[in-house]
C-alpha cells in the first residue's frame, strides 16, 4: 500500500509531463512557423511564390528580394532615423527617470508624496487619450514632422521613475550616509554610489524604452508625414501599401526590420524577460 502511492504519483507525473510537452511543443511550433514561413517566402523568386505550393522551398535560395528592397525604400535611412530617436529616448529616459526616482526615494522636499501620487495617477492614463492633445501640443511647438515629436513625448517616463524609486528604496543607505558625512552632495551620491550599483535595472529599463520606440507605430504615423523622416515601422507599412502583392519583398522587409530586435533579444534575453515582468507592474 505504502509502496503503491509514490508509484501511482510518479506515473501521474509522467502522464502530466508528456501532455505538457506535447502541448507546449505544439504551441511553440505555432509561434515559430510564421517567422520561418516569412524567411522561406523571402528567399523565393517572385515567379515561384505563387507557382508552387506553400510547402515548396526554393533551393538554392534567391536573394533578389533582399537586393530589391534597398532600391524600393531608403531602408538604411529609416534604420538611421529609428536608431537615432531610440538612442536619444533611451538615454534621456534613463537619466530623467533615475534622477527623479532617486529624489522620490531618498530626498525630502515639500509636496514630494503628493507629486509622486500624480506620477502614479498619470500611469493610469491610456496612451490613446493623449494622441489628439499631444498632436496639438506638438503642432504648437512646431515639432510636427520632425523627430522632436517622437523624442519629446517619450524622454520622460512616469513608469521609469516609479521603477527607479522602488529600486532605490531597497538600496541600503549606509554607503550614502558615509558619503554624506564626507560632504558629498546629492548629485555626487547619485553619480558615484547609486548609478554604478543599478546597472541591471538601468539595462532593463533602457531595453524597454529602446524596444518601445523601435516597435512604435501609431505615434510616428500621426506626427511624421514626409518620407525622409520615416522610422522603420512606418517605412514597412508604406512599403506594404505600395507593393501589397509582392510577398517576397514584403517578407524580406519584415525579416530585416525584425532582425535587430531579435538579435538583441538573444544577446540579453535575461533583461528582456525581466522587462516582461515589469510590464506586469504597470497597471
Amino acid at each position: 500500500m505504502s509502496n503503491k502511492k509514490p508509484n501511482n504519483n510518479s506515473f501521474q507525473m509522467q502522464v502530466f509531463k508528456t501532455i505538457s510537452i506535447t502541448i507546449l511543443a505544439f504551441g511553440a511550433i505555432t509561434m515559430i512557423i510564421p517567422f520561418i514561413w516569412s524567411v522561406i517566402t523571402s528567399l523565393k523568386s517572385a515567379e515561384n511564390i505563387f507557382a508552387h505550393s506553400a510547402f515548396w522551398i526554393q533551393f538554392p535560395p534567391d536573394f533578389s528580394a533582399y537586393k530589391q528592397i534597398w532600391e524600393r525604400i531608403p531602408l538604411l535611412k529609416y534604420a538611421g532615423n529609428t536608431l537615432k530617436v531610440a538612442s536619444i529616448v533611451t538615454i534621456g529616459q534613463l537619466i530623467t527617470s533615475s534622477l527623479a526616482g532617486y529624489a522620490f526615494a531618498r530626498l525630502k522636499f515639500p509636496g514630494r508624496d503628493k507629486l509622486f501620487f500624480v506620477y502614479i495617477a498619470t500611469m493610469m492614463v491610456p496612451g490613446m487619450v493623449l494622441l489628439i492633445p499631444n498632436f496639438i501640443v506638438m503642432k504648437n511647438l512646431g515639432a510636427i514632422n520632425t523627430h522632436w515629436a517622437l523624442i519629446l513625448a517619450s524622454v520622460g517616463s512616469a513608469f521609469g521613475t516609479f521603477l527607479m524609486r522602488q529600486f532605490f528604496l531597497t538600496f541600503p543607505s549606509e554607503l550614502e550616509d558615509a558619503a554624506k558625512l564626507d560632504g558629498c552632495n546629492p548629485f555626487m551620491i547619485y553619480w558615484h554610489i547609486l548609478l554604478p550599483n543599478s546597472k541591471p535595472i538601468l539595462t532593463t529599463l533602457g531595453l524597454m524604452a529602446f524596444q518601445g520606440i523601435w516597435n512604435d507605430f501609431q505615434w510616428p504615423l500621426i506626427v511624421l508625414n514626409s518620407a525622409s523622416k520615416r522610422t522603420l515601422q512606418l517605412g514597412l507599412s508604406y512599403l506594404m501599401s505600395e507593393y501589397y502583392t509582392d510577398w517576397g519583398l514584403l517578407m524580406a522587409g519584415s525579416v530585416l526590420t525584425l532582425l535587430p530586435i531579435i538579435l538583441l533579444f538573444f544577446a540579453v534575453q535575461k533583461y528582456f524577460v525581466q522587462s516582461f515582468k515589469f510590464t506586469g507592474l504597470k497597471g
Binding site: L107, N134, F135, A158, N215, Q218, M251
Partner: protein, 307 residues
C-alpha cells in the same frame, strides 16, 4: 524657560533648516526634467483633451465651443455603435482565451522538463516583434492562397477568406492578437506560480490530491489576484488596439474590424474631426479609469486578506 530652550536649539535647527532647504532644492532639481515632460505631455493633455472634446475643432478652423454635442452625436452615430460592438466582441473573445491559454502554458512550463529554454524563447518571439511586421506575416499566412488555406486545402477544406470576409475578419484579427500576446502573460503567470511555496502543493499531493485538484484548490485561489490583474490589463489593452487593425484590414471589409482604437484615429487623423475623436477617446478613458480603480480597490482587499 521657553526662551532658554530656543536659545540652545536655535543654531542647530538653523543649520538643519539650511540643510533641509538644500536637500529640497536638489530634490526639485532632480525631478524637474522628468516632471516637465510628464506635465507637458500627460497631465496637461488630459485636460486639453476634455476641452477639445467639447469643441468642433478640425485643425483648420478656429474651435467653437459646442458643449456636449459631440457626445450626443456619438450616441446617434451608427458607425460608433458598430465600433463599440466590435470592440466588446474583440475584448470578450480575446481576453478570456488569452488568460486561459497563458495560465495553462505557465503551469506546464513550471516544472522540470527538457527543452524549457526553447519553449520559453519561442513564446517570447512574437511579443518582442513589431506589430507591422507581424501584420505583414499574417496577411500572407491568411491570404486566399496563403499558408493556412493551403494547409487546410490538403485536408480537403475549401479556401477561407480570413481577412476579406466580413464574418471572419474580426476573428482573424483577434487570433493574431492572441498569438502575439501569449508570451507576455505567460511570464507574469510563471512568476506568480514560482512564488507559491512548494510545501503547499506537496502537502496536498501527500493528502492524495491529484494534479487537477491541486490546480483548482491551491494554485488558482493563490494566484487569483494575478488572474484578475491580467484580465483587467488585457481589457484595457484591447480597448486600445490599433496597429494590427490598421495594417491588416484598415477596419474593413466594410466596418467589420473597426474597433474603437482604430475609429478614434480615423475620426481624428483621417477625417480631421479632432473634437469628435477626443470625445470618443474620453468615453473610453472613463471606462478604463473605472476598471483601473476597481482593480486597485480589489487588489488592496486581496493584499489585506492575505495577512
Amino acid at each position: 524657560m521657553v526662551n532658554d530652550r530656543k536659545k540652545t536649539e536655535l543654531p542647530a535647527s538653523n543649520y538643519s533648516k539650511l540643510n533641509r532647504r538644500r536637500e529640497a532644492i536638489w530634490g526639485y532639481l532632480f525631478i524637474s526634467p522628468n516632471f516637465l515632460i510628464i506635465l507637458a505631455f500627460t497631465v496637461i493633455p488630459v485636460f486639453l483633451s476634455l476641452y477639445i472634446s467639447l469643441t468642433d475643432w478640425n485643425i483648420l478652423g478656429t474651435p467653437n465651443f459646442i458643449w456636449i454635442d459631440n457626445y450626443k452625436a456619438i450616441f446617434s452615430d451608427p458607425l460608433a455603435k458598430e465600433t463599440f460592438f466590435n470592440t466588446i466582441y474583440f475584448t470578450v473573445l480575446s481576453v478570456p482565451i488569452n488568460v486561459f491559454l497563458t495560465l495553462i502554458l505557465a503551469v506546464f512550463l513550471n516544472q522540470k522538463i527538457r527543452g524549457i529554454t526553447f519553449f520559453r524563447t519561442a513564446y517570447y518571439l512574437p511579443v518582442i516583434s513589431a506589430s507591422v511586421a507581424v501584420s505583414l506575416m499574417f496577411m500572407w499566412i491568411l491570404a486566399n492562397n496563403g499558408l493556412l488555406n493551403q494547409m487546410l486545402g490538403s485536408l480537403g477544406v475549401e479556401p477561407i477568406r480570413w481577412l476579406t470576409s466580413p464574418k471572419i475578419a474580426l476573428n482573424s484579427v483577434i487570433g493574431v492578437t492572441i498569438w502575439k500576446g501569449l508570451g507576455l502573460n505567460m511570464i507574469i503567470f510563471l512568476a506568480a506560480l514560482q512564488d507559491i511555496p512548494q510545501e503547499l502543493t506537496e502537502a496536498a499531493a501527500i493528502d492524495g490530491a491529484n494534479r487537477i485538484q491541486q490546480f483548482f484548490k491551491i494554485t488558482v485561489p493563490l494566484i487569483s489576484p494575478v488572474i484578475f490583474f491580467v484580465t483587467i490589463t488585457g481589457v484595457i489593452g484591447s480597448f486600445q488596439s490599433f496597429d494590427l487593425v490598421y495594417n491588416m484590414t484598415k477596419g474593413g471589409p466594410g466596418h467589420a474590424t473597426s474597433v474603437i482604437g482604430y475609429y478614434i484615429w480615423k475620426q481624428a487623423f483621417d477625417y480631421m474631426n479632432m473634437g469628435y475623436g477626443a470625445a470618443l477617446a474620453y468615453i473610453v478613458f472613463a471606462v478604463i479609469l473605472i476598471l483601473t480603480l476597481v482593480q486597485w480597490v480589489i487588489r488592496k482587499r486581496w493584499v489585506y486578506s492575505e495577512d
